[in-house]
């Protein structure tokens, strides 16, 4: 049986050591493989036999343990940037989406008269929290462009921001509907637009939490 050539096995070992966005990871690995093949070609052109040329190229490249941390730093940074971009878009989208829905008249408020003040206060708090999380996501997105900021630190901050934002916004939404009394049940039972809006918001919050967990996992795997 023929053993794998040094370039193939080295690249495979490097790929196994890396975590992060699949497309970027594959691109970086393909680029490293092409570079190793170029280096082996150059050694062959200098007269080395193919096996030796490939082994020299691999030796020049560096051991997996030596180079993988720099590859991982970039993948961690890219994961952070993808998540920050998503949060920059979806938190303000939720804020404006609900505002649009209320102002359009498609969904009419029907708060329990016993607790309108509390519901309104919670709704205002929800708006403030959503705006602050969106703002934090923009700042962190900008930070992913800075080479001086450690990628793992900024990516972890992005994952924590997404998690905290989704949990707080989700919690406030539940609290608002509990404080609103029977009006939410009436709304959901009589208004299809409200059902779609509630389901859409829940799906967006689930997406944010899923993306945050992925982001935090890349940071912890890279540690």
């Amino acid at each position: 049986m023929r053993t794998a050539d040094p370039i193939t096995s080295h690249v495979a070992a490097l790929e196994r050591a890396l975590r992060g966005p699949q497309r970027t990871r594959r691109g970086m690995i393909a680029e490293a493989r092409a570079g190793l093949m170029d280096a082996a070609d150059a050694y062959r052109a200098d007269g080395l036999p193919p096996e030796q040329a490939a082994a020299r190229a691999v030796r020049d490249f560096g051991a997996v343990g030596e180079v993988a941390p720099s590859f991982q730093d970039e993948l961690t940074a890219r994961q952070g940037r993808h998540s920050a971009l998503l949060f920059t878009l979806v938190f303000p989208a939720m804020l404006f989406g609900w505002d649009l829905l209320w102002s359009s008249g498609l969904v009419r408020r029907g708060f329990d008269p016993a607790a309108p003040g509390l519901v309104v206060a919670l709704a205002r708090l929800q708006d403030v929290v959503t705006a602050l999380v969106g703002l934090a996501a923009i700042v962190l997105l900008v930070a992913t462009f800075l080479r001086s900021v450690p990628p793992r630190r900024v990516t972890r901050a992005i994952g924590l921001t997404g998690t905290a934002g989704a949990v707080v916004c989700g919690g406030l939404a539940v609290a608002m509907n509990v404080a609103g009394g029977h009006s939410t049940a009436v709304l959901l039972g009589t208004n299809m637009a409200a059902v779609v809006a509630f389901a859409g918001s829940a799906a967006v919050l689930a997406l944010i939490i899923w993306q945050s967990i992925r982001t935090l996992r890349v940071c912890s795997d890279a540690a």
Partner: protein, 110 residues
């Protein structure tokens, strides 16, 4: 020159070799070795993540193309990259001038 000595300067060195025109990863490694007279002794595998770091900072733009029948990622210096290179050159000149002034054996009257 050992990798530790190059650490912190690799980004600037890469920007400098791409200044004259777009290059792919291995061509950049060759250019670094040729322009240093073979004195740069760093694992070539550290150059690829450095290219991605520079691209992430918008100092380089990268695109896939087929060169010599092989898929390669080619990098071009952006306007921000040219500006960063000019800044790095100015800072390096200032730094070397200061260090040289201090290291130079003192001459003068006793």
């Amino acid at each position: 020159m050992k990798p530790a000595a190059v650490h912190g300067h690799l980004d600037g060195l890469i920007l400098a070799v791409i200044e004259d025109g777009p290059l792919h990863g291995y061509a950049i490694i060759e250019a670094l070795q040729n322009r240093s007279g073979g004195a740069l002794d760093l694992p070539t595998g550290t150059v690829y993540p450095a290219l991605r770091r520079l691209e992430r900072a918008a100092l380089l733009s990268g695109s896939w193309s087929t060169v010599g029948g092989r898929e390669r990622r080619t990098y071009t210096l952006t306007r921000a990259g040219r500006h960063a290179l000019a800044t790095q050159r100015a800072e390096w000149s200032e730094f070397t001038a200061v260090v040289e002034a201090v290291l130079r054996p003192a001459t003068g009257t006793a």
